[in-house]
Symmetry: C2
Subunit: 371 residues, 2 copies
């Protein structure tokens, strides 16, 4: 026993033997003990009696292999890196929840790094993770530019490349849910809040909207399309966009927002402008974050299966890690959204009662300024 270390402040401190000590204790070679403990006993036809003895001793002496040493030698660290834009943000953490669930069941640990849309960090992190010997990387809403010598799974990225497997939402179905819903409620003048330029989903989702709008015969008025600014936190970008939208003074009866945060921001701005939701303007969100249900009015929204996307990302990555294959130019794995109908949408108002009828102009600018 190595017991010359640490002035024990409590006898509950765990003393751990290393492999050498364990082997000596058992009167076996490190090789044999290692084989049993790393689960390759079968391949070496180790007698089950020996196997049992080793297992029992390991448990009794509380042996835990030094993962560093094991990884260094075996070239597999059972560690993956997860890149997210922002750790303290609902989207990433929902995905992270799913990732963790799968990873930890397989004995994998993960490093989280968040780049906050800083391009220098986006460039550096894959390299830093590599020097930490991760077996693979999951990029959540983050684009990795260089090809890496390890498997990569991207959640909601849309740069298809051979070395990366993409997990994406079925954007067409998502757009169909929302636009079909609004169309049935007789909305024709629909405003769109596009996502931030840095979000991987922005373009794909917008393309899907355009395509579905064409199918449904909805005309998209460019003056009713506005994009979230890159800066600002929480509901702020949605507020800013909606204020700008109102200033254009073009009539609309519904808004399809890029995400719930933007939808919630939009609703607060509309309310401040004296416009009722959903009586005068309907609002559809995206994601179904927690606040969507508790918002007033509760948000009608397209739900992304974020946890599920995380789970699929993780299990796909594990598969890739456990295989020799090099080329992963498969089709993206596409998950399905669901539609959650709550109270932020309603029938399109009659022209006379609409917020933008000529009589009732929405310009209550005093409320909108100064924020």
């Amino acid at each position: 026993m190595t017991s010359k270390d640490s002035k024990t402040t409590s006898d509950r401190i765990v003393t751990r033997p290393d492999l050498k000590e364990l082997a000596r204790h058992l009167g076996l070679s490190q090789t044999t003990v290692s084989r049993v403990l790393s689960g390759s006993a079968k391949n070496h036809r180790i007698s089950s009696e020996t196997e049992q003895r080793v297992l029992a001793a390991a448990a009794k002496l509380n042996y835990k292999a030094n993962v560093l040493a094991r990884s260094l030698r075996s070239k597999r660290s059972k560690t993956v890196g997860v890149m997210v834009p922002e750790i303290s943000e609902g989207y990433s953490t929902a995905v992270l929840g799913g990732i963790e669930e799968v990873l930890l069941l397989s004995g994998f640990f993960y490093f989280v790094v968040s780049h906050r849309h800083r391009t220098d960090l986006l460039r550096e992190y894959p390299s830093l993770l590599l020097s930490r010997a991760v077996d693979g990387i999951i990029a959540v809403d983050s684009t990795i530019e260089e090809d890496l010598p390890i498997p990569v799974v991207a959640v909601s990225d849309h740069h298809h490349r051979p070395s990366v497997v993409n997990i994406e939402l079925d954007h067409l179905l998502a757009a169909r849910y929302a636009l079909d819903h609004l169309t049935r409620l007789q909305h024709r003048e629909i405003a769109f809040i596009k996502g931030q330029s840095f979000s991987s989903d922005t373009l794909a989702r917008w393309r899907a909207i355009c395509k579905v709008a064409a199918e449904l015969g909805i005309e998209i008025n460019p003056r009713l399309v506005i994009q979230l600014e890159d800066h600002g936190l929480g509901t702020e970008p949605g507020r800013t966009a909606t204020i700008a939208l109102l200033e254009r003074d073009v009539r609309f009866t519904a808004i399809f927002a890029f995400n719930d945060l933007a939808a919630i921001g939009a609703i607060t701005v509309l309310r401040e402008a004296g416009i009722q939701v959903p009586a005068q303007v309907s609002v559809v969100g995206f994601d179904d974050i927690l606040s969507a249900a508790t918002n007033n009015p509760p948000l009608t929204t397209v739900r992304q299966p974020l946890q599920e996307m995380g789970r699929v990302a993780a299990s796909t990555l594990l598969q890739m890690i456990h295989t020799e294959k090099q080329d992963w130019s498969t089709h993206p794995i596409r998950l399905l959204p669901t539609f959650v109908e709550r109270q932020s949408t309603a029938w399109a108002p009659q022209a006379s009662e609409a917020a933008f009828s000529d009589s009732a102009h929405p310009h209550k600018e005093s409320n909108l300024q100064g924020n």
Copy 2:
């Protein structure tokens, strides 16, 4: 150059030399190169010319030390473990954001593990993190039972022990903010929603409330005290508790909830019961999560500086790691809450003023007198 590996699918794959190759390339020993690269050049009086050459070559050849090998040898991994109850939950991720900010600036990476209040995981994780050779652990709202041979910082734990430094909120100040606010608004019949039994903060916060209530002469009616159930997600526990509270049929004019989620749940239940917030019942939350501001009505709440608590936790842990000291029986580090007054609180309803024979107006006492 080791270039026999990997059928390069793209020439952008990063080839990295190891220390040996770098040393050979420079005509120097691994020892010298290692010294320069690990920053101990000064201690060994390495000529600045040599130093510059090494640095230049390392940059040019894109040398990155294998962190596994370095850690195995040096016994310091520049990695910490962070234990949280739940990854996809606002409280933990806010703290995590602060932790990350500090850690990554120092070149530290972190593993996240979430135990979801499972006692088996709570017991195992410290050990598993240890076998991953972490230099220290931050436990967020999680109690670590055994003494560990590495530094530990606990955010919002209240088991004071020598080997652990605690980061906590000033619960007395928090209670004072809330109760003082309600008292001034003439509330006397206040209901309290206590936290889940598994939350480290539940007891400390409740004690502070009792103490401050005594100071302010507020009587706590046991029939107006209810505790959040351990199961249920989001606003569900708050809803359940409030429903049970209403069933007791004891009059109250205000609720002080354990957290914002519970407060939001309470408000939805009150609304469904036809009780107006804040006209008939005022509600005060705790935490100031994102939804607090966007809720309807926007929540009056005690804000915890969660990011800051994370930052302090991380920098404290780094200090502990970089020192030899063994005994950390310091006082806990106490951070200050702030009070955010929004629209979920208002004057106690008229009926209650009539019921109590006192004056119609609250005493405008100066801020937070006493301590």
